[in-house]
């Protein structure tokens, strides 16, 4: 195995009955990186994270975690921590008691397990002695992260850790994950929050219907000739509009004034065409006050890469259902025939 990889998966397939959750997944996650996992609901993210945590084994394929091939369910590769679905907390215990019980379960001395430190890192010191029954989702997520920190993991697996986080909570979580990655811990996290992933991750894997449709550095998503929407605010909107309309490779958005205000100009363009437009604006003496993508490159790539596949999967299922149930076809055809 490549020594710098924390996770190496080849041809991983996992089925639940007749449902194929993962279909020949290949994945490489380098040590000390924060790797994002995105995909539509039902794409297989949680199943993949479950495999990384050792909660299940793949039906076929090869998975190596921290240099160790995994072979059986609940095998402990050593140094893996995290949660899937939601952090496991006991509402009758306080935050501190939850962590202490967990540390004692692992065999750690609760006095030296770093409970206070973990609580401080995730910003829960003030509520350390409150029962978690009253905790919000964001607080539960942060306490779940603190619980994972107690294990001093080398691979941290988190399923949507940003759920329910307020800005302060997000800052704490981002800070912890960034620091951990800096210290050599590999973090694999799933999220539907593209802004979080872009802020945190150096690499992402996009899953759709159990397959990898992209895996690599975030920069690669923005590269190439994919057309993205950008919002421009200039010193002379009218002239800028005329220049953009005439620029090769640039399309003007239909309803620029409606959602983005009268001063803003929204264009669809690949990166080279956008560069040329910006140069043209400057050359024409128009000041560029703001330039930002309307949709983040990751979100745009996510939509571009997953929607056709999800729609195709939906169509395939529909065709299969129709083939299975010809009565429904006939029933659907009848109104049309009656209409004719």
């Amino acid at each position: 195995m490549d020594a710098h990889l924390a996770v190496r998966a080849r041809g991983i397939t996992k089925c639940f009955g007749e449902v194929v959750a993962l279909d020949g997944i290949d994945l490489d996650v380098a040590r000390g990186r924060i790797h994002g996992l995105v995909g539509p609901n039902g794409a297989g993210k949680t199943t993949l994270l479950g495999l990384l945590l050792g909660l299940a084994v793949a039906d076929s394929g090869r998975l190596e975690i921290l240099g160790t091939p995994t072979g059986r369910t609940f095998e402990d590769p050593g140094g893996v921590a995290g949660f899937v679905d939601a952090p496991g907390l006991y509402p009758s215990l306080t935050a501190r008691q939850n962590l202490a019980a967990l540390a004692a379960l692992r065999g750690d001395d609760t006095r030296s397990a770093g409970i206070d430190d973990a609580l401080e890192q995730v910003g829960l010191t003030d509520v350390a002695d409150d029962r978690t029954r009253g905790f919000s989702l964001g607080m539960r997520q942060r306490l779940g992260l603190a619980a994972a920190l107690l294990a001093r993991p080398r691979l941290l697996v988190l399923d949507e850790p940003a759920n329910g986080l307020d800005p302060a909570g997000k800052k704490h979580v981002h800070g912890v994950l960034t620091r951990l990655a800096g210290e050599g811990t590999t973090v694999v996290l799933s999220s539907h929050r593209m802004d979080d992933l872009e802020a945190l991750c150096s690499e992402v894997t996009i899953l759709a219907t159990g397959r990898v449709v992209f895996s690599g550095p975030l920069g690669e998503l923005a590269a190439g000739d994919r057309e993205l929407a950008y919002r421009l605010i200039t010193s002379d909107p009218a002239r800028a509009h005329r220049l953009a309309a005439a620029a090769p490779g640039v399309r003007l958005a239909a309803d620029t004034a409606g959602r983005h205000g009268g001063e803003a100009l929204v264009v669809h363009a690949p990166v080279p065409a956008l560069d040329a437009l910006v140069a043209g604006l400057v050359h024409a003496g128009i000041a560029l006050r703001e330039l930002a993508p309307v949709v983040s490159p990751l979100e745009a790539a996510f939509l571009a890469l997953t929607e056709p596949r999800v729609a195709e999967s939906r169509d395939t299922r529909q065709r299969e259902d129709d083939a299975i149930d010809p009565r429904r076809q006939r029933a659907e055809a009848q109104p049309q025939e009656a209409g004719q």
Partner: protein
């Protein structure tokens, strides 16, 4: 802030230690004890029985429909036995429901299975830890009921002799040993219910049925025990040991039904726990939708237990002499005559008459049921008996009439029907104060498994 935690060194391959059952057990106990519901139960079990027994002992009306209830004014040892009777009917099934019925289902409700498995990484050890923790709490609750009711009785009434179910007077030391044994015996059916609770908790997941299963099973068994079932079926029910302890309070002790009941209960406890274990190990924890199903509960839970019931009925029927209801005329007559003789001696003492022995009394009874005078059998409140005895130095034979209400488990209540001077209601003076005539109404027990002497 303390030094930030750092990840384990990359080369430290064996950084994580396997979680032992002992650590898992402590974890489970901490979780259970942290629940207000469990804390309240523990407090209630350690306080309420003492208050109940002390309070009832001060009342003029006693719970005479409960075994030993009529002796609560006479001795502190009646209190724990009254509590035991009540516990076997209601408290223990409900307590096991709340504890064992929820010990696995709680993780489903909280969605914490995966979290627990990531840390422990062994369903086997998790099962063992949870089962042991549940057992610990149940034992703590049972111990509370026993200790509290005993302390309450002894403080309120005192350490005095107890009248057994054959009328014999048990010295306080003997009574203490038998009370302790009775509570220990009841642990077996409690464990059976706990095993059923574990099975329900595993098989039914977060469904409320999992929590209610032990209570429902106990209720079904109580209903069954009220029916005139063949004695082999009765003894094969895991809840029978909840009432068999009464056999300890006769002389000789009715040990056979008690030991059979305990053995059956333990077999049920082991089988139900083993089924729960197998179901738990087969569960797919990666599938969030898999939290137990009714189909699995039936195929892996109900059917094997139904088969076990059939097997135990067959074994009990084949290995004992039990036939029919086990309540036969000759056994009723023998039990009643024996008890009458013992209580007659007690009455003689209380009335300061010349002492007489049971042997010299030569008490006998002639019983019939619903007009049948020969070969009467079965439970019912239509038994009528005439007890006869001989007084030393008196040629005439004394006789007294009793109406008997015999329940299907062999317990009977004898109600004196004259003559009034012998078994009517009047007060006698005892060292503890005035008390009803001991021959007026008394509880007894028919050994369902003893053989009737012929002829």
């Amino acid at each position: 802030m303390t030094a930030a935690m750092t990840p384990a060194a990359p080369g430290n391959r064996t950084a994580s230690r396997p979680v032992s059952v002992a650590r898992g057990y402590r974890f489970e106990v901490v979780k259970l004890v942290s629940q207000w519901r469990v804390r309240l139960l523990v407090l209630a079990c350690w306080i309420a029985p003492a208050l109940f027994v002390a309070g009832v002992s001060e009342q003029s009306t006693l719970p005479t429909d409960t075994l030993f209830g009529r002796w609560m004014h006479a001795t502190g040892w009646a209190g724990p036995l009254v509590t035991l009777g009540f516990a076997g009917t209601w408290a223990l099934p409900l307590l096991t429901s709340v504890v064992a019925g929820d010990v696995f289902a709680a993780e489903d409700r909280l969605g914490t299975w995966r979290h627990l498995l990531v840390v422990v990484r062994s369903p086997r050890r998790i099962f063992a830890a949870k089962a042991l923790a549940g057992l610990t709490v149940i034992l703590l609750l049972v111990a509370g009921l026993a200790v509290s009711s005993t302390v309450g009785g002894l403080l309120a009434v005192g350490d005095r002799p107890l009248v057994g179910l054959d009328g014999r007077l048990l010295a306080p030391g003997d009574a203490a040993v038998k009370v302790l044994l009775a509570w220990v015996c009841v642990l077996a059916p409690t464990l059976a219910l706990a095993g059923i609770g574990l099975l329900g908790s595993v098989a039914l997941g977060r469904s409320p049925m999992g929590l209610l299963l032990p209570a429902l099973v106990a209720l079904a068994m109580q209903l069954a025990q009220m029916l005139p079932l063949p004695v082999a079926v009765r003894l094969a029910l895991p809840g029978d040991a909840f009432v068999d302890w009464k056999g300890l309070f006769t002389s000789p002790a009715q040990l056979t039904p008690l030991l059979i009941g305990i053995a059956v209960s333990l077999v049920w406890a082991v089988t139900a726990t083993a089924l729960a274990y197998v179901l738990f190990l087969r569960r797919d924890f990666t599938n969030p939708a898999d939290d137990g199903s009714a189909r699995r509960a039936v195929t892996a839970g109900v059917l094997p237990l139904a088969a076990l019931l059939g097997a135990t009925v067959a074994v009990v029927a084949a290995t004992t002499t039990a036939q029919g209801s086990g309540i036969e005329q000759t056994k009723v007559e023998r039990s009643l005559a024996t008890e009458f003789a013992h209580l007659y001696r007690m009455q003689t003492r209380q009335l300061h008459r010349p002492a007489v022995t049971e042997a010299r009394l030569r008490a006998t009874a002639a019983c019939g049921k619903a007009g049948v005078q020969d070969g009467a059998r079965g439970p019912g409140n239509d038994w009528r008996c005439v007890v006869s005895w001989h007084l030393p130095g008196v040629a005439a034979t004394g006789s007294a009439v009793y109406q008997l209400d015999i329940t299907a488990d062999g317990r009977f209540v004898a109600d004196g029907d004259g003559p009034k001077e012998v078994n009517g209601y009047f007060l006698v003076r005892t060292p503890t104060g005035d008390a009803p005539n001991p021959l007026w109404q008394f509880d007894g027990d028919v050994d369902l498994l003893s053989t009737s002497p012929k002829g």
